[in-house]
């Protein structure tokens, strides 16, 4: 559970500090970052629970 909470905090921090400013920078950078971050979060959560 601790791992899940920390992973989620890290994910939210990445979304806030990394993805949010990129929305204005253009579609390609935002979507690439979003895909990488989402993939990382998905793999980590899957690894914690399954």
């Amino acid at each position: 559970m601790q791992e899940f909470v920390l992973t989620t905090v890290f994910f939210l921090a990445a979304v806030w500090f990394d993805l949010r400013p990129k929305w204005k920078a253009g579609r390609a950078p935002f979507f690439l970052s979003a895909v990488l971050t989402a993939a990382g979060y998905f793999i980590l959560v899957k690894n914690i629970f399954f």
Partner: protein, 366 residues
């Protein structure tokens, strides 16, 4: 990503950190036992043409990083391909680094803490360092490099009583095939990742002479690798050292240094972590730069800050694919050297050949 100049000292210790991080962690022990030093020397042989190619690339296209060089030679398509290939390569390499150092910290300092937590905290440190830019990275690698050397010298001085020269014998008992195979593995792990310095070549300070930098770092890294090998071998014996997960740390744990014995282990752990942060941050930064070149043409706006997303994905891979399952981890460790060789040593070759042909053609025209 903040740009900045990378000084000679910073670049030198960055290359040395890239070379010796695998040495300090794994000790480079394999099947060759006490003959391992021959494999280390053999591994340096293919590094010589590699360094000549890298220096030549830096001289032919000064002030350019590898994806920019690919863009100059093969156009935008070359830049996208180089960016995407090296982006994936460095993300997987970052995952391997994170997996190794997470495993070490978990074993040595935080056995009750989950690997995911250690991995994410370690990644946060590396990501912060990356976001500081090349100048910060250079200063950090120079300071930690010196600190690492001081700790290594202290460890060797305290282990004087535990050194058994008999452990270095017998020599020349391993077959040439085994030595060559070991040499190739060591080459991949120590020199194969040197390609990452080409991602910092665009930030080299004006007074840096690439050839001098690469030769100096290769020689220094080779000497350090031999020192670490002989120390571990003499203190632990080749077979105990080969079976230990982290031989240098194990050697520090058996050294009888009176009341400060336990502190030696802590210092070695500190040295591991410092050099690990340098190497992981450098690889992550190279990966972020490669990916940013793949999605944005050169000269358009500031380079993208892809450090955090790329690092997050690498951490996920490290925790699940590399570190989560012992069988998968062993499989990954076995194939990692082969995986490093292609992008690390072979892919820069067409770039170099193309640059030489273009230069010759330009010379003929004038």
């Amino acid at each position: 990503m903040t740009q900045g100049r990378l000084s000679f000292r910073g670049a030198f210790f960055l290359i040395v950190a890239a070379e010796v991080s695998a040495v300090t962690l794994s000790g480079l022990f394999g099947e060759s036992g006490a003959d391992g030093w021959i494999s280390i020397l053999l591994a340096a042989l293919p590094a010589i043409p590699l360094i000549l190619v890298f220096s030549r690339l830096c001289a032919l296209m000064p002030g350019k990083s590898l994806p920019e060089m690919a863009g100059l030679q093969f156009g935008r398509a070359g830049e996208i391909i180089a960016g995407a290939v090296y982006g994936c390569f460095f993300i997987i390499l970052t995952a391997a680094m994170l997996s190794g150092y997470t495993g070490f910290i978990h074993l040595a300092a935080l056995p009750r803490t989950g690997p995911a937590i250690i991995c994410l905290v370690f990644l946060s440190l590396c990501a912060c360092l990356c976001r500081g830019g090349s100048e910060t990275m250079g200063k950090w690698s120079a300071i930690t490099g010196v600190l690492f050397l001081v700790i290594l010298a202290g460890l060797i001085a305290f282990s004087a009583e535990n050194i058994k020269p008999g452990n270095l014998m017998p020599v020349f008992t391993t077959s040439a095939e085994t030595l060559a195979a070991e040499g190739l593995r060591i080459f991949a792990l120590t020199h194969g990742e040197l390609v990452l310095i080409l991602f910092f070549a665009g930030d080299f300070a004006g007074d840096i002479k690439p050839q001098r930098l690469f030769w100096g770092a290769l020689g220094f890294g080779l000497i350090l690798a031999l020192i670490v090998f002989f120390h571990n071998c003499a203190v632990l014996g080749p077979y105990t050292a080969a079976s230990a997960l982290f031989p240098l740390y194990r050697a520090a744990s058996v050294i009888d240094a009176g009341g400060i014995g336990i502190r030696l282990e802590t210092l070695v752990a500190l040295a591991f972590m410092l050099i690990g942060i340098t190497k992981t941050a450098a690889v992550l930064m190279a990966g972020a730069r490669a990916l940013s070149r793949a999605v944005r043409p050169a000269g358009v706006g500031a380079p993208l800050k892809l450090t955090v997303p790329a690092g997050f994905l690498a951490a996920a891979l490290a925790v699940s694919a590399l570190g989560g399952d012992a069988e998968k981890g062993e499989l990954a460790r076995r194939f990692l050297p082969a995986f490093i060789l292609a992008p690390g040593a072979l892919l820069p070759l067409p770039l170099w050949i193309s640059a030489e042909i273009k230069k010759k053609r330009a010379g003929k025209k004038t």
